[in-house]
């Protein structure tokens, strides 16, 4: 959570974006992030990002659901309030499979979505800086972080050579904050 200065380059084609990304990474400038209107396959690898372990969270939540269901039902029907259904055993596992399955799925799905919201830092009322309004429409927007050692003009000129349709320099919060998208954010000078 810090206010930083970014050089922003907008591309209108992923076939321009990929080579541009490669040159930016080779150049040594600090790549902040890329924003795309849809999931571009291979872009995460090209950026050098690791794969996500979200599915492991889903598996763990699923196990919690299974053990909750089995533990809870077996405690109720064998020790807390055992009922005699026509002399059938109190521990009647096959009849518990449907609820165990449903709770496994429920825990896994709900837990994973909450984990997803937490990791992505998305929630109602959360606001993040939108570098270009078309980044959710048809632009691929690359933000390069600027610092005291980089020349603003140099980076912008460099980004232009990579095939950017539009470039700009923006001062922005690099993370999220509570805010509304109909209100402009006001930053103090760096």
């Amino acid at each position: 959570m810090a206010i930083k200065k970014f050089a922003v380059a907008c591309y209108d084609d992923e076939e321009v974006l990929f080579p541009a990304l490669k040159t930016v990474r080779h150049s040594g400038y600090k790549l902040h992030d890329i924003y795309t209107p849809f999931a571009v396959h291979g872009l995460d690898e090209a950026m050098g990002l690791k794969g996500t372990d979200l599915h492991i969270a889903g598996f763990i939540f699923g196990l919690c659901g299974t053990s909750t269901a089995l533990g809870f039902i077996s405690w109720i029907l064998t020790s807390d309030w055992p009922l005699n259904f026509g002399g059938k055993p109190h521990f009647s596992l096959p009849a518990w499979i449907p609820i165990t399955f449903e709770l496994t799925v429920l825990f896994s799905a709900v837990g994973m979505v909450l984990t997803w919201c937490y990791l992505n830092q998305v929630m109602p009322g959360v606001k993040k800086h939108v570098f270009h309004p078309r980044q959710s429409d048809d632009y691929f927007v690359m933000a390069v972080e600027l610092n005291d050692h980089t020349s603003e003009q140099e980076v912008v000129d460099f980004l232009k050579t990579t095939g950017a349709k539009e470039t700009s320099v923006q001062i922005a919060e690099d993370s999220w904050w509570y805010g509304r998208f109909d209100k402009e954010e006001a930053y103090q000078k760096l």
């Binding site: 849809f38 999931a39 996500t52």
Partner: protein, 443 residues
């Protein structure tokens, strides 16, 4: 056009609320159900709506796993339909309880009655878990797919209010690469979870019947038979809605005749499965030699409810076979009519299973006849009101096609992509492999 439809739906919904209030105030005696036929229109409608609610998740989840690109045109609307249909379905068992204010007794919470827990061995309680899980997971799946599209609307919004409202709805989504990566992982795992879930839900609904000892219900064929029927009616309902939506919202380029044809192919497949199931039921009733079973089926076909049995057979078994003809599959008015016919047939199927298995009891003295009263009919019409009110609101304020997914499909099947592929296809195999290897070495 929208306002007329919306007004009509809200009017129906109000009538439904009135009918339900009437039944709750005066008691379930206002319904036509009696001691012999304890489940009438209410449970028929419950199973019917749940069945309709199966297509959305099937389209989004199973077709996602099978990598069926065409699903992107229709999945969003189908998922919305699923959620609204399950909402409608849920009303029926809740109000069938009679003393609906005690409805929370089905939840296993520590209480002052013992604590006395619900019976976890009962299929009716399995249903509580199945339907609520299905609703929750479908909602999460649907909404997580909507978030990027809400962000698109937010960034294009002209008015302050829209920017604010869609800003909240989009959860602050910006489309960063890492977020997309997790989004794809989430969609895939949720699809993987939803696929067995969607099959389990109607299986468990069928257990409500199959685990009992009523002739006509006590059969092992029920789970697959119910699931096939659910997909059958669900796809028909999706077709009903899509034919209207694409016309009114001018989405002919996104929801094409090809989509409708693909849907019709699934309808002819599942319709045939349902047909085979009906015939298998008949065969087994005869072959088992069980007297009760044989009598139940004889009365289904020839008893006082013969018209419901034959309506079911005509609508579900005979009529979908017309979809073997390609010309009819691609005919939009015909598709629309068939989608209605199929859902009428599937309603009769549930009516046949429920009422015509109950009305001739073990004791001839308790044989009875059942016909619905106006609060039951009003309740059913009211759920149509609820369904279409939700759907109209969805169609006006939500992105009805999955925008981000369509963009993804267009990008990978668009001109630029094909041009890029041409150079790759022109390469010899060694060149291609070499390039990939060096790429990996660099990465």
């Amino acid at each position: 056009m929208w306002y007329i439809g919306f007004f009509f739906s809200v009017a129906l919904l109000c009538f439904g609320i009135f009918s339900v209030t009437w039944a709750v105030y005066w008691g379930l005696g206002t319904w036509g159900v009696n001691r012999t036929i304890g489940w009438g229109w209410d449970i028929t409608n419950f199973v019917w709506w749940v069945g309709i609610g199966h297509a959305g998740t099937l389209i989004s989840a199973i077709l996602l796993l099978f990598r069926q690109g065409w699903r992107t045109g229709v999945n969003r609307a189908a998922e919305a339909m699923t959620i609204f249909a399950v909402m409608c379905a849920g009303q029926f068992p809740i109000f069938h309880m009679g003393r609906v204010w005690d409805g929370f007794f089905v939840l296993p919470y520590p209480n002052t009655r013992g604590p006395l827990w619900p019976n976890f061995n009962s299929p009716l309680l399995w249903d509580v878990f199945a339907i609520s899980t299905y609703f929750t997971v479908s909602l999460l799946f649907w909404y997580s797919g909507l978030i990027p599209d809400f962000a698109t609307i937010r960034d294009r919004a002209k008015t302050k209010f829209r920017k604010m409202a869609y800003g909240v709805a989009s959860f602050g989504w910006t489309g960063s690469v890492k977020n997309w990566q997790r989004h794809e992982a989430l969609a895939l795992v949720l699809a993987g979870l939803s696929t067995p879930l969607v099959l389990s839900v109607h299986t468990i609904v069928s257990f409500d019947f199959a685990t009992s000892v009523i002739p006509g219900w006590h059969t092992t064929i029920f789970p697959p038979y119910f699931v096939a029927g659910a997909i059958f009616s669900g796809f028909a309902m999706v077709n009903t809605l899509l034919v209207i939506s694409r016309k009114i919202l001018h989405l002919e380029d996104y929801i094409t005749v090809g989509h409708l044809e693909a849907m019709n192919k699934v309808i002819v497949l599942t319709g045939s499965i349902v047909g085979v199931a009906y015939l298998t039921e008949l065969f087994i009733a005869w072959y088992s030699g069980a007297y009760g079973e044989q009598a139940a089926f004889k009365w289904r076909i020839m008893g006082p409810y013969w018209w419901s049995y034959w309506a079911m057979m005509t609508c579900n078994v005979v009529s979908p076979q017309l979809f073997w003809v390609k010309k009819l599959r691609r005919n939009i008015p015909f598709t629309f009519i068939m989608s209605i016919v199929v859902n009428i047939g599937m309603w009769f199927e549930r009516f046949v299973i429920i009422v015509t298995s109950l009305y001739r009891d073990w004791i001839p003295g308790s044989w009875a006849y059942y016909s619905p009263t106006w609060p039951e009919v009003g309740f059913y019409l009211g759920t149509f009101g609820l369904f279409f009110t939700c759907y109209f609101l969805f169609a006006k304020y939500f992105p009805i096609v999955a925008v981000a997914e369509i963009k993804f499909v267009l990008k990978t099947s668009g001109d630029n992509y094909k041009r890029g592929m041409e150079t790759i296809e022109a390469q010899s195999e060694e060149e291609f492999v070499h390039e990939v290897e060096t790429h990996h070495a660099h990465a």
